[in-house]
Amino acid sequence: MQRRNFLKSFSAAGLVAGTSITQKALAAADYEGPIFITLQARGGWDVTSLCDPKTSYVLTNRDGTTENILVNRWSETLEIGEVTGSEIKYAPFAQNEKLFTNHAEKMMILNGIDMQTNSHQAGTINTWSGRFSEGLPTFTALVAQAYGQGLPMAFVSNGGYAATSGIISPTLLAGNSRRLRDLVTPNKVNSNSLSDTRNFIAQSNLSIINQFKQDRLDRLLARNGLPFTQKVLNQFSSAQSDQNDLQYLQDEILHGRDENGDDIVGEVTAGNYNATLSYNNQFLDQIELTLAAGAANLMVAADLTTGGFDTHGNHDNSQANALRTLTDGVDFLWKKAEALGIDNRIRLVISSEFSRTPKYNDSNGKDHWPVNSMIFMQKPGAVATTGREIKYGKVFGASSDGHRALQLNPTDLSAIQFGSEDENDPKPTLQPKHVHRVLRRWAGIENDPFSELFDLDAGDLNVEQII
């Protein structure tokens, strides 16, 4: 479709909040491509205690005096961790050693991302859409739209920032797996038993009712109505016609469980994994259901969320707890994906709205800080027919000892040392708009019509160096 016509049809369909463009699938729901997942660490994580480790630095005050600032207390007794054969370094904090020991081979890291804000809202929008102001779809919405036309749950949201700009509707999947079984087999009396085959409504009756429902919907659609109502009726119609495909979730929800939904000893399930932890990690349920949707070939992209990172007080303890939840979740995600046989398809990206100040405040907390990081994860060798592969073990972008975002040479992305910048010829810092160019290239959607429509205006850095 020519760009002009594409824009025209897009405009006609209505881009305003809550609208959606529905294009029916050319084929049955059976997506076997890469699955893109964002993990949104909500509240502002401390990357200096994760993937951009900092210890202390010398601060020059405005009056010219200097003072030594402690960035992290762990640095008083512990050394920064290094991953052998890799550029990746990590803070010896929380459970980072477990995360990086077991999963660094799948990682590429972007550090020193200049968020240009320390506002939760603006930072969240910027991190996940590539721009401060509202109006751009998130990366997951964009990629789900590109590859998921006709899938009943192409874009799964578990909360967090999920702006779609009207190009696709997110499916909220936060809930209980047993109740999800009730939904994927809605007519079964006992959905959580394979042997109990009783139905509420005789199949013959259901067929008659469904035909009458469809006829009624067709009549409503045929009546002259307002564009808003027409659009909603189309959504309603699509939702009903696609719902049967969701029955394929049944087997995946039961993975590792018996027919009653109880965990089988030794299998990779959220319940079994939780039993190995010293705390209750509810985040695992979210991961498990999301991966079930991916394994059922119903989903292209999903947002996962975990919170607790806004540690203005008692930082070390609270941030460690939040990071522990996150890193256990990442570990479980890869284990479960492998058990489901979809680890080769997973593309995981982890970040937050910003980071935290490179110093402690009076309440032993850390406040907002506009320099961020993003962790990309992909199993080595897992190259699909669409998209590209990350550079494993590489770190792009950089920050100073005091966690300032460093300017980068636009062509080779080498960092300019803090204090050596040319005031007359400032170079760009790595910003979310550049990161989203990287994400789009990773997914192979940089030339998708919607990617072009939602332009990032980020050509001042040669991000082809990254992916």
Binding site: N118, L173, R179, D182, N205, F212, L217, P227, V232, T357
Partner: protein, 440 residues
């Protein structure tokens, strides 16, 4: 808060530790927020009322401790016993540049005596309500509840593909908000009047594009998806039944518990945006609701005398059939087509709000559904005495969620050889899964 661009400069963030400093860019927002925070001085982090220092303050432990540790007489900016607000705060409690009595001067008894308030929050409430912006703020607060979504934010990126469209809608919405706000003021801030004004707008009432101007066509009309809370209340209002565990009328409502998030509920933490577009998974919630709910609901209706029923107040009982039954069929038959048609028209009104004549084509379509289901069963030998064995029809693997009702009793309505129960159930499912039932 969009009053000012939030601090972006790491240098500034390093050197300014007090966002109330007028020289920091933080000040743009904090000059508004901090005074309001000060008005909540009687309440602690978790809502406790004056829970420290023998019931005199809620200030932070560090601030109180430091004030006691040092000789506070030598340091007027540290905590003094009896203080209710921070002495080192650069922006005093208040609202909109109006300062409230603070610190040692401020004490609720003093205020009570002077200004007839017992707490600072009451002072704040009075100030807020008397501010001109309270009028439009109130309209914006109720806007999503009435119109189904928040008014859109001002479009700022002229390169966005929908910039023109959004600009049109933005201007329309702002004009509407201002108009409603002025009416609200004129009616002495009577909320009931405001809500009436809102539902009388074209945006709320428009059914056809002839009704309105083109600027609002994209946001006006039927099609606001009900939230799980609204749908739960609607189900009860129409049927006098909750969708819950049928054997326990006091059990949790399933739309508010088991399926709350699947149907777009929020937890106001990780999930803080309501789902406004229906998804396939959400449509399965409706299907599940009807599967579990409809049979028992219809049966409970027909158990009652006609005058005591909620929905089936036209047909006498389950013996009303639309046509002659086969000679072999058991049961007491009363060919009652007119009343069945009238009953269906009433169900269209009760469940969908459609006011239809008995001869309306939509009534005829629904009657066709009733008749098809009935005919299929009455002509099938397998249904000659169904349901009469128990709660389950073994031949058709069909089960009614009776919640402990004993179907073994060989009595009406559990014994329904006229085969009308399932026909009425089909009608209820058809209507309760309709667009007009789950949207407004």
């Amino acid at each position: 808060m969009a009053s000012i661009t939030r601090a972006q400069d790491p240098d500034e963030l390093t050197n300014f530790t007090n966002p109330g400093d007028i020289n920091s860019s933080c000040y743009g927002c904090h000059k508004i927020m901090d005074p309001i925070a000060g008005a909540f001085q009687s309440y602690g982090d978790f809502g406790e009322y004056l829970h420290k220092e023998a019931g005199t303050t809620t200030l932070s432990n560090v601030y109180i401790r430091d004030g006691k540790r040092w000789n506070n007489q030598d340091n007027p900016l540290r905590f003094h016993p009896g203080d209710t607000w921070y002495r080192d705060n650069l922006i005093p409690p208040g609202f909109n540049d109006k300062h409230m009595n603070t610190s040692q001067d401020y004490w609720y008894k003093t205020l009570q005596r002077k200004e007839n308030y017992v707490d600072a929050t009451q002072w704040l409430a009075n100030e807020i309500v008397n501010d001109e912006q309270f009028l439009s703020g109130t309209v914006k607060f109720w806007y999503p509840a009435i119109f189904g979504s928040d008014p859109i934010s001002v479009p700022v990126n002229t390169n966005d593909p929908d910039f023109d469209q959004r600009s049109q809608i933005y201007l329309y919405q702002q004009t509407l908000i201002n108009k409603l706000a002025q009416n609200f003021k004129f009616r002495k801030m009577n909320l009931k009047d405001l809500l009436v004004d809102m539902v009388l707008t074209d945006q709320y009432r428009a059914l056809d594009r002839l009704d309105i101007n083109t600027n609002i066509e994209l946001v006006a009309g039927q099609g606001v998806l009900l939230t799980p809370e609204q749908l739960d209340r609607k189900i009860y209002a129409i049927t006098l039944h909750h969708w819950n565990n049928m054997s326990n009328p006091d059990s949790n409502h399933k739309l508010l518990n088991d399926f709350y998030y699947y149907y777009g509920g929020i937890d106001s933490d990780e999930i803080d945006k309501r789902t406004r577009d229906i998804t396939s998974l959400m449509s399965l919630v409706i299907q599940r609701m009807n599967a579990e709910f409809s049979c028992r609901m219809v049966m409970d209706e027909f158990v009652l005398p006609r005058g005591d029923r909620r929905l089936f107040t036209v047909v006498d009982d389950l013996s009303s059939v639309p046509a002659l039954a086969p000679d072999t069929a058991e049961g007491v038959y009363k060919i009652d087509l007119d009343n069945i048609r009238h009953q269906i028209a009433k169900l269209h009104f009760d469940i969908l709000g459609e006011q239809l004549d008995d001869q309306d084509p939509e009534v005829s379509f629904t009657l066709d559904l009733f008749t098809q289901v009935w005919t299929k069963r009455i002509n099938d030998d397998n249904f000659s005495d169904v349901p009469s064995q128990n709660s389950e029809d073994m031949m058709y693997n069909e089960y009614c969620n009776t919640g402990g009702v004993d179907w073994d009793r060989n009595v009406w309505p559990y014994k329904n050889p006229e085969q009308t129960l399932k026909a009425w159930q089909a009608v209820v499912i058809y209507l309760m899964s309709d667009f007009k039932f789950i949207y407004r």
